[in-house]
């Protein structure tokens, strides 16, 4: 049993470095120069600025307003870039400002509860009516709130995607976003409490992402998309090489 004497000795040997190590680790919590603490999965934690692509496709997120692309793009035939007008100018496609919604919906479909939600955000309070100026334009309320759309096509922060370059290259929106004009199928239901018995469209799925938006998916086009030959002619080979360069997309 004389070996057991070793145990306290060993405990001492380990206790001293442990104390030193703890002291060293404690230096990390500095409020002036905060560090990010990652208990489990460092790369996807909050505030790291990184999120994963490759979310499973085919499931719609709960959106604040049951907007139907099907109605607007297919039935009414509105061009994508009528509302998403920044796509040809900027890296963002530009979720349309509420101003754009109000452009039409100050006149049309006012009875729809969904349209009423736009008005509510516009006014910043429920059950509001939109005030109009002398030109008939809706007056912006001071406490207007933007509509908190859930992001469906979400790229990681380390990816640089420039909408305007893709539009300029002649790509169709559907090549990446899928058949959005067919999304937002609806059924008609009577508006509750409406004296005229009008109906409104009930949309089940506002927006579904059809592509994975993963790197390999991007590369499938960047390796050889017909638009490269069309746009670059003789320089197409060089452009293809450039398009496969990491820095084309990564930042």
């Amino acid at each position: 049993m004389r070996h057991l004497v070793l145990l306290p000795v060993a405990a001492g040997i380990f206790l001293i470095p442990t104390a030193c190590t703890v002291a060293e680790a404690e230096k990390m919590g500095d409020p002036k120069f905060p560090l990010d603490y990652h208990p489990v999965l460092p790369q996807y934690g909050p505030n790291t600025g990184q999120i994963a692509a490759g979310r499973a496709t085919g499931k719609a997120l709960e959106q604040p307003i049951q907007f139907s692309h099907f109605v607007h793009a297919s039935e009414l035939g509105i061009d994508c870039q009528y509302c998403h007008s920044e796509a040809r100018r900027s890296i963002h496609s530009g979720v349309p400002p509420m101003q754009a919604c109000m452009g039409c919906h100050q006149y049309v479909k006012l009875e729809s509860p969904e349209v009423q939600k736009i008005h509510d955000h516009w006014c910043g309070q429920p059950k509001c009516t939109v005030r109009k100026d002398e030109f008939g334009q809706p007056i912006r309320e001071a406490n207007a709130k933007p509509i908190p759309w859930q992001k469906v096509h979400d790229l990681p922060d380390y990816v640089h995607f420039n909408h305007s370059r893709h539009i300029a290259g002649g790509l169709n929106c559907t090549e990446c976003h899928g058949q959005v004009q067919l999304q937002g199928q609806y059924r008609l239901e009577p508006i509750p409490g409406d004296a005229e018995g009008r109906k409104y469209r009930v949309v089940d799925e506002v927006m579904i992402r059809e592509a994975t938006l993963q790197m390999g998916w991007c590369l499938d086009c960047h390796r050889n998309h017909p638009s490269i030959d069309k746009n670059y002619g003789e320089a197409a080979d060089l452009r293809r090489a450039e398009l496969k360069d990491c820095w084309t997309c990564h930042k």
Partner: protein, 454 residues
């Protein structure tokens, strides 16, 4: 039929050899019987060290590499030093089991199983470090070639990629080689146990029966394993040395590195075998199988490789002078300056690796267990210091003088180093208590077979 005793009558190991096959079995199985207190204490200590190291790694995992003492331009330190150290330790095992097998060296028999176990566990320990020293160790799977949605592969032109292939090959081949050699011996344990233990050993021995077909394949296969492991062991440390030699960093960028590293690895490995087996022999009373004869031969290996190392150190300086490369000259001049930041490390290394082993030129000191153990321990320290010298002092004195700086490891790094020793010892101790740490079959080959006579 004339049966010739394969044992040389003048063999110094002979007096301690068991008389019969049965005695061999009983001697080695005896280790299993009751856990000795010393063993239990050692396992507990190793486990504590392991847990402590794991906790340090957890700190690093959550806070980042910043808990270590690394900073530009010294981006590698204790972790890579320890990595190379453990890989080097592993090499002696393969040398003893494969190369000495091929050259039919008799003294390997007693120590080869334990050395091979040391190899496997040392490589297992070393394997922790490439992962552990990564800034983002959770992405370590990117090192392996597998088809992925990113359509991305790795850079096979990188020495680190060679390293990944070399080390994983080395681990795989060593483990398979080790296990193939173990199979007949596990079968012995199986046949000497009962109940659940017997089932476990039964599964582990994969149904070995000792039939003539099996022995025939075994011998053929074993030879090929040895034949593959021999060049592999030389290549692995060459590749490890290329991790350094392929970078232009002065002090690293040298063609002498592969042989220099291999010799160093065998040097440290043989010393480690001595310092590992001697306590084990005392703990489990293996003196019949592992004794002065083996230690002395290992010490002779150390003497040879110590000479090679000393020559390599000298050559580094000679080439530094002869090449007239100002960067090389500067780094070696700086290293050897006693008052420089790492002068102490250089002279400690020279003492441990070049001067201390000289004691073993004396037969008396070479056969004395105390001096053997002390010098082997010194060599182990010295070989760690050698890697420290190569890695840290070269980086500290990189090309741009405006960035010259020094490096001091933190307690997290020491903790991980301690933890790695615990991890290694833990597995080695578990192994020696549960598996034949001395090769039963091969010992039996040394025993005169039972002959009725005519």
């Amino acid at each position: 039929m004339a049966l010739v005793d394969p044992i040389d009558a003048n063999d110094p190991g002979r007096p301690n050899r068991p008389a019969t096959y049965g005695e061999t079995n009983r001697d080695i199985i005896r280790v299993l019987l009751k856990p000795t207190v010393g063993w239990a204490v050692a396992v507990v200590l190793a486990a504590i060290a392991m847990v402590y190291g794991g906790w340090c790694w957890y700190q690093q995992f959550t806070w980042g590499m910043g808990v270590s003492g690394y900073h530009p331009p010294i981006q590698w330190g204790v972790y890579i030093v320890t990595f190379v150290f453990w890989i080097g330790i592993g090499h002696a095992g393969t040398l003893i089991s494969a190369i000495l097998f091929l050259v039919r060296s008799r003294w390997r028999t007693g120590v080869y199983r334990a050395s091979e176990a040391m190899t496997v566990f040392a490589v297992m320990t070393a394997l922790l470090f490439p992962v552990l020293h990564l800034g983002r160790c959770w992405q370590a799977y990117w090192f392996f070639p597998y088809p992925n949605q990113r359509q991305l592969w790795m850079n096979f032109k990188s020495p680190l990629m060679w390293d990944v292939f070399a080390i994983s090959t080395y681990f795989t081949v060593s483990a398979v080689f080790f296990y193939v050699g173990l199979i007949p011996d596990i079968a012995v344990f199986r046949d000497h146990s009962r109940g659940l233990v017997r089932r476990v050993y039964g599964v582990l021995s994969v149904g070995w029966r000792g039939t003539h077909v099996q022995w025939h394949s075994y011998m053929g296969s074993y030879g090929f394993f040895a034949a593959f492991a021999a060049p592999l062991v030389l290549s692995v440390h060459s590749v490890v040395s290329w991790d350094f030699a392929m970078a232009p960093t002065p002090g690293w960028h040298s063609t002498i590195f592969p042989p220099y590293f291999v010799a160093g690895a065998i040097f440290s490995g043989c010393a480690m075998v001595i310092s590992l087996l001697m306590p084990m022999a005392y703990l489990f009373d293996w003196h019949k199988y592992v004794n002065t004869w083996h230690y002395e031969n290992l010490a002779k290996m150390c003497l040879l490789t110590s000479g090679i190392l000393t020559y390599a150190y000298g050559m580094e300086y000679f080439v530094g002078w002869y090449s007239q490369n100002p960067f090389e000259q500067s780094i070696f001049f700086w290293r050897a300056t006693p008052t420089a930041d790492y002068g102490w490390a250089f002279y400690l290394m020279v003492f441990c690796n070049c001067i201390a082993p000289i004691a073993w030129y004396s037969k008396k000191l070479r056969t004395n267990h105390v001096s053997l153990f002390i010098v082997a321990a010194i060599i182990n320290v010295g070989m760690w210091m050698e890697r420290f010298n190569i890695i840290v002092s070269s980086l500290a004195h990189n090309f741009d003088p405006a960035t010259w700086t020094t490096y001091a490891p933190t307690w997290i790094e020491w903790g991980v180093l301690i933890g790695s020793a615990g991890w290694f010892s833990f597995w080695f101790l578990l192994f020696s208590k549960t598996f034949p740490a001395i090769a039963i079959t091969e010992i039996k080959e040394m025993v005169a077979p039972p002959v009725r006579g005519h």
